[in-house]
Amino acid sequence: MTEDQSIPVGMILGTEDSSPLDWWVAVAEEHYLQMDDVVLVRTDVPGRGELAISGVVDMVRARHEASRYESDVFLAQEGVLPLQVARSAHVVTTRLEPELWVPPRPGDCVARVRGVERDQALHFDSMEQRLVAGLSRDEQPIFVDLSFVDGRRGAHVNISGISGVATKTTYATFLLYALFHSGVLGTRAANTKALVFNVKGEDLLFLDQPNARLEDKDRARYASLGLPHEPFQSVGIWAPVKRDTVEAIPDTGSRQEGVKGYFWTVRDFVKEGMLRFLFTEAGDERSQVADIVSRVESALQREAQDVEGSPASVSVLDENLNRTHVKSFKELCALIERRLESSDSGLVAYSSRGTVSAFLRRLDGARAQVGHLIRGTEASDPADHRIDWQRNQVSVIDIHNLHDRAKRFVVGVVVKRLFEEKEASGSAEPLIFIVLDELNKYAPRDGWSPMKEVLLDISERGRSMGIILIGAQQTASEVERRIVSNAAIRIVGRLDPAEALRPEYGFLSETARRRAALLKPGTMLLQQPQLPMPLELLFPFPAWATRSSEAPRGGGRTAFARKGS
């Protein structure tokens, strides 16, 4: 018997109702069915011929048939009471061919299917371009339809799960790897780019290094997925610059080599309207502060003029409306303060004294946390340290060491600029993927922030603009509803049982919710538009290093070996 053969495993049973949507299988003594097995039953429809109904097992059970008392099992064990064990499986229909909505009949033979029949059952055969998304428990590949990822029919991927167990980031990286290395993008692959924000640890700073802990069985898994086992081929790694250094040294722990420090210039800050991204704290939008922010931002933008020989700074008007050269971010903040304290500057307008004070307090706070990322005349070679995602196929932007406010600033500025560039280009090609974990920080369910606005724009218009968001969060219930609901592909790793009951996970069946509470690292449930139910999938151990100890020239950090993140 080869792996590609279909095996008859049982019959449609007659003690439970069969319907066109779901049915029960009595499993034959010498066979078994497990959850997620793909099965097929052929039934004869009078006058219409044969109907093939395929489905996926979503529950299996075993019981003593017609046993009335719980204690019967002990009697059976002692040889006293003969009882029949009945094993059965519940199947959710995934496909009817031809589309005749009639149930299978009791007694119809059910087979576990492989190969072409399995592909048909899971609609893989109708996917023009299929992206491999993982392996089923029986080591068969699971695909998603690329047209639901790249914006043609749908876009965006959303991943939920408990931190540390759900392996959200690792899976998002695997999905990117599959996109770039499976050949599914064809000639488009060369121009397609990905922007990955590294929000926790330094997991993503080694994407370009092979994983020294990869074993043969992992390599075999890559082979069954039709993927090479190698690190990402073209990776640019960006980390925030260290504070108080003239040189733009990247502020990373375990890796310095090949990492580019990033910062923005005062000129960038003023001319590109970045001020608003300093005001992204929850509650900022409720006060009148937002009003002042936009007034200050647009005034500076309007007034700014380049200064000869100083590409990193600009001149703007001071409180006396005299043009003055602003050489550093510190000077810029001081200038803003002076102008707001002077009633002649035209910036205060109708804002109250209290609102102005609130604005200044926050500006001051932001300066302490974000200021080192905005350099003035002291900056050397600013063009080289400006994040450029066109340079490499995958650009990793490290923000994990930054204060929350600075994280939001970086993500907001980068994503906004990307959005504006794509908008200006007017073409969906080439595609760009944004991988961002902790969406709940950037687009929380409640309140408004410029950050959330940009992400919402991407989730609603990104599909036509070729910007695809691979977003992740611990709890989808804390993320802006529209961002989650716009994702065509939804994935969950281990979920908190209470979280799994929330309506955001309505796509999970009752059994899937229960399973979500038990998923191990490396196992996810994937929901895609063609299938009425989520599929469980496993993905291989990363072929790229996820910590310095896994990299060939890695340092001494050996803890947490072979554990996902």
Partner: protein, 317 residues
Amino acid sequence: MTVLRIDPWEPEFGASVEAEDDPDRPPPPLEFDEPLAWAPITCMPPATVPCCAFIDGVRRVDTRLFAEEADVVAPALAGSWAVGVAWSSRPPVVDTVKVRRVIVLGRGLDHGTITASIGGHRIEYRVVASDARTPKQVLDKLQDAMRTDEAALAQAVADTGRAEVIVQDGPLDYHGGKPTVGLVKRQTQRYLDTERQRLLAMLEVGQRTPLFRFERGRIPRYSWYARIAPRRRIDGSIAGLVRLESHQEAGLEETRRLADTISGMLPSFAAPMWRDARAPQNLYPVGQLETVLRNRLGERDVVRRAVEAALWRMLDD
């Protein structure tokens, strides 16, 4: 003074003591071969339950019929029965189930086989002509046919040599293979004289009476009573008792050993009172076997409708 005591069986199953015709019918002459006083014999439960084959059958009247030919109207019925084996193996299993269906005709009338259809299946009633004159006699023919199948099954099981003991439901009215015992749940005939009968009330669980030998239907056999479940003080004196039989051919010594084994073993197969309408005499494996067999007979209403449809068809043809 008259004392009232309980018969533990559920009333709809009849009484656990029920004389067929005449309650005072004289017992057959008995021989007492065991060189023992008439006193309880304690039988130790075996360390491990031996591999027993419990053989039983269930029968059912699917529908009662009249067979009419010219001026003769004879009682008849369409009936089904099933026989099978419950093994006390590990795990215990039920197997070798056979289902038969017959039309029994009285007064010597005859008829061809009747085929009824249920769904895509056909069930056949072969015809048994008999001289039965009353509905009860027709029913007895059905019972006899089932008993014949039970005996054949017991013989077949004995031939396999797999069973250490074969326990058959009811008396052993055939010459059979060893080591078979017949288990009589319902006491329909008194065998012992008044003095010996007193011992029955004194039997404790796991105890048996000495053997007694007699002949019925020209089949000589040994028999004994054994208590398989405790008796409450309010229960009748023979509640929890069974009568067992084995073929005389096995010889006295072999039968004594068998009687000890069986009587020691049966209490572990006796169902508690709440569990079965005929507890404790209806043993666990037998009760479960009957459930399986009844299920194999099919839904009575469905079968009955199928027979009616077959009769309609024959009328139309």
